[in-house]
């Protein structure tokens, strides 16, 4: 069983929950940028959260299926079409052998997900099927999809059992808004900012620039000030430089004090720019949904509050899966 890729779209890749344990040699976690949307897509088609999906960026693919298939499209709002006819999103769809799946124009957000019963069945590399394009590992031959690719689909799990509901109730579908409040825990090198700099970070409006991809998102805004100092040996000459260090996924660096960059799931694992805080794990999916132009405020919370938010997200996912008819 496979999908034939007639048109690959802008940047369509195979992703799953990611590949941890190798960040110490610079291999990023990768995985679906919007884990929540990918997971609910998997739930709709009877997969576990671990199965690989196709992540579509802005412009999705045109594909046909070799055999009958059960799919669901979740994530950013877009018209889903089967043989040219519009079908609902966040809903399980039955495809017949030869059917063509295609997409309209995205109406918000950045990425949507095609989950298929059985999952995308590319080989695991270092414990994950996720694509890490820069290192050319994982996914479909280590790269984004191209026209002519035949993407393998696995056999259905649990003898093809499907959940009771065929759609995700509205209250469990995330918003894809043009305004976001992103919760961060201050730390790492925030003490290197001036008081005004820190204040500016937390009280200014920042806008996502077009320089945003799986590695990170760059924001424009008023800029911030770094404290002047005599730089330590081995750090660069700019006050935003540090001796090259590991970068937390979700951390915010502000090279030269101009544009904050949030590192995301394909992050470079280290470098010489001071980080001033880190997006909490519960808000990483939110950041993944931010399209260029999204107005963003950074809200500082404590580590304890971040842990509460983490539990709340886990509970939301459990409830969503329960509403679909999974879990108990």
């Amino acid at each position: 069983m496979a999908f034939d890729i007639k048109n690959p779209g802008l940047a369509t890749t195979v992703q799953d929950q990611g590949r941890t344990g190798h960040y110490n040699v610079g291999i990023p976690q990768s995985g679906s940028m919007d884990q929540y949307s990918a997971e609910l897509g998997n739930a709709l088609v009877g997969n576990t959260a671990k199965e690989a999906v196709l992540e579509c960026t802005y412009l999705g693919p045109v594909l046909t299926t070799h055999q009958d298939a059960v799919v669901a499209v979740t994530g950013a709002p877009v018209d889903v079409r089967v043989n040219g006819e519009t079908r609902p999103q966040w809903t399980r769809l039955q495809l017949k052998a030869g059917d063509e799946l295609s997409f309209g124009v995205i109406r918000g957000g950045t990425r949507y997900y095609i989950a298929v019963q059985g999952g995308i069945d590319v080989p695991e590399v270092l414990g994950s099927r996720s694509t890490y394009s820069l290192g050319a590992i994982g996914g479909f031959q280590g790269r984004k999809l191209e026209a002519g690719d035949q993407v393998p689909v696995g056999a259905p799990l649990n003898a093809g059992a499907l959940p009771d509901a065929d759609t995700v109730p509205d209250e469990f579908r995330p918003a894809f808004a043009k305004e976001q409040a992103v919760r961060i825990v201050l730390g790492l090198y925030d003490h290197r900012l001036t008081d005004e700099g820190l204040d500016g970070l937390l009280h200014s409006e920042w806008k996502v620039t077009p320089v945003a991809d799986r590695m990170g998102l760059r924001y424009s805004g008023p800029g911030v000030q770094w404290k002047e100092r005599e730089q330590p040996f081995g750090a660069g000459s700019d006050p935003s430089n540090i001796v090259d260090a590991g970068y937390a996924v979700g951390s915010i660096q502000i090279p030269g004090g101009t544009q904050p960059i949030i590192l995301h799931r394909d992050a470079v694992s280290g470098g010489g720019y001071a980080m001033v805080g880190t997006v909490i794990s519960a808000d990483m999916d939110l950041v993944a949904r931010a399209a260029p132009g999204t107005s963003t405020r950074f809200v500082a919370i404590s580590l304890d509050e971040a842990l509460v938010a983490r539990k709340e997200l886990a509970e939301l996912k459990r409830n969503a899966r329960a509403a679909i008819g999974e879990g108990s």
């Binding site: 960040y23 610079g26 090259d244 996924v249 909490i280």
Partner: protein, 301 residues
Amino acid sequence: MSSPEPAALEARYTWGGDEFLFVEVSESMSLAANFRVMSIAAKLSAMQLPGIVDVCPANASLLVRFDPDVLPPSTLEETIRTIEGDLTHHHDHSLETRIIEVPVWYEDPFTAEVAERFREGFHQEPGGSDIDYAAKVNHLKDAAEFIQRHHEQPWLVSMVGFVAGLPFLFQLVEREKQLEVPKYLSPRTDTPKLTVGHGGCFGCIYSVRGAGGYQMFGVAAAPIFDPAQSLADFKDFMVFFKPGDIVKFRPVTEAEYNNIQAEISAGTFRYRQVPVTFDLSQALADPEGYNQELMEALNGV
């Protein structure tokens, strides 16, 4: 090596959100600080604590990723503080590692071609080569002297990362002999694969083609990241370097470079390498004498 600040001061602990703990051993780079980072990382990894996801030693700091649902943040911090305290009282300053000879074609045409495309607005001296500039800012006579200084003393892999398998290298010489070169004014969007680069006090080898801001001096002749794991040196893992590896660069000519390419194509290339014990006190007391000993280990290979 005369490091003004012994890295015995207490490290700084700070959170990277709810999944990362960052431990800054020292603000400035020194061999002692790096050694301490590696010691903490090794001891923490050996404990195999449930909930530890990644232990990432860097030049003078350590980044630990953890799952707070399994390992409470306070427990992780206490654990690392205990390791740190124990290290201060027990001076075990030796590291079982290896020394590896890495052939380099200095002043090669690949980096020259890319450098040519990133001069005005990117480079401090758009009219000259990266290596001429590096020689000048280090007050050396010419490119040849810089190359000599670059390969005659070995380097320590002080960190692996940025992208998959990229080693950061710190030369094992006194601070006043360290080569220091500013990064490009603005990063390039292209860097040839295997470029031997330098920024600040760090050398590096770019494992994959891509963006980069380090000055470019040459290309390493053999792969350091091999996802297909086709060469024998990659049998166990696709990434060649580990923190703590010691690297001795060997300059090669175009003809030697081409011979190595043929060996790689035939699948027969092997790095010259030998296990060594690296002793911090000896390295600090007499860097060049101790380096000589380390490099002699390669002679029998």
